[in-house]
Symmetry: C2
Subunit: 204 residues, 2 copies
């Protein structure tokens, strides 16, 4: 995927760079609060030049949400296919979701703000719910495997786990992490091992 910088003077955009600017604007002002005129203004091109690439604002939203969902459903698919216990598949899914969030943070931010006002948004919410159900299934399976403590509520645990992952968009800024996977490691350590050092098993 190429995302060339716009040329000076008479800027040119391909679909991906146009989409990146649209998502930036949607995240700043809200999708409903952004017009094609606003977008043309930010891009410094005529509205007609945008319609060369897409049929309208809703197609931009669909492409942006598809990009976030594509990443997340691909990770979920790989987690589903993993020949490993549910707890391992769950950790794989959490780790992969953090990595998608880091790689595609503006797109995932937009996805997490969708409230279902349009057909495109409702379709995206339905796909998100599919991933949520898969998480709840994995948690339930890990509980029955004895890998998560017996008293845990599968639905509450699934919500907390993905609340934790999704909360990252509130403060994440691309390029600030000192090394790749540091954030995914921190999330998995917190969620799966817990903050408190396991003294008895380490003989301390």
């Amino acid at each position: 995927m190429t995302t060339p910088a716009p040329r000076r003077g008479r800027p040119g955009y391909d679909l991906q760079s146009l989409l990146a600017v649209a998502v930036e604007l949607f995240n700043e002002r809200g999708y409903d609060g952004t017009s094609m005129r606003d977008l043309a203004g930010r891009l410094g091109i005529a509205k007609s030049a945008i319609y060369h690439h897409v049929t309208g604002k809703e197609e931009l939203l669909r492409l942006a949400l598809d990009r976030a969902l594509g990443g997340l459903t691909a990770v979920a698919g790989r987690a589903r296919a993993l020949p490993a216990p549910a707890i391992e598949r769950l950790e794989y899914l959490v780790r992969g979701s953090v990595e998608v969030l880091e790689a595609e943070s503006p797109y995932v931010t937009l996805l997490l703000r969708v409230r279902g006002n349009t057909e495109v948004e409702r379709a995206a919410l339905e796909q998100r719910r599919g991933v949520d159900r898969f998480v709840a299934e994995l948690v339930a399976e890990a509980i029955s495997d004895g890998d998560i403590r017996p008293g845990a509520d599968a639905m509450v645990t699934a919500r907390l786990l993905f609340g934790l992952v999704n909360s990252i968009v509130e403060w994440y800024r691309p390029g600030r992490q000192e090394r790749p996977q540091a954030l995914a490691d921190a999330v998995c350590a917190l969620a799966f091992e817990g903050l408190r050092v396991r003294r008895p098993s380490r003989g301390r």
Copy 2:
């Protein structure tokens, strides 16, 4: 604190019940998107009847944010005063924050959406940052005590911990929990003990 149901026919509100309706509306439409006319409409009273209680919309916001912040800073104050290691004070603060969130969920939801557009919002954000700094200090102290694993980044850990707590407002509905403290227990179990059962120390 009494919050009588509005009387039928000619409804009457005290400040607390008026505030509850205002917060409901702010959470639905956004603070900026809610007018005093909207609020009067929802209450079924004249705007002048609202001005009997408050000077305007910004005072309603300040009262609402103070209610959420009052609960959270009280818990932080008790955590600070606790004669216990940092890891215990941190767990006390997390547990207490979940309980405030449950007891005052509409007010905490409003607080978490504040973006700093007005003086009242900026003051609330500054108070939230004070609590965030305290969390980061407790995490750093618990790391140096050896109670949180040495590799942990104090700031990232603090953000994840409160991202986890704050994410609850996205799905929490008052009165659905089967027993008091179930949610606070689930959050603390996830964050401090981790999901994965500690087999070696349990001899399993």
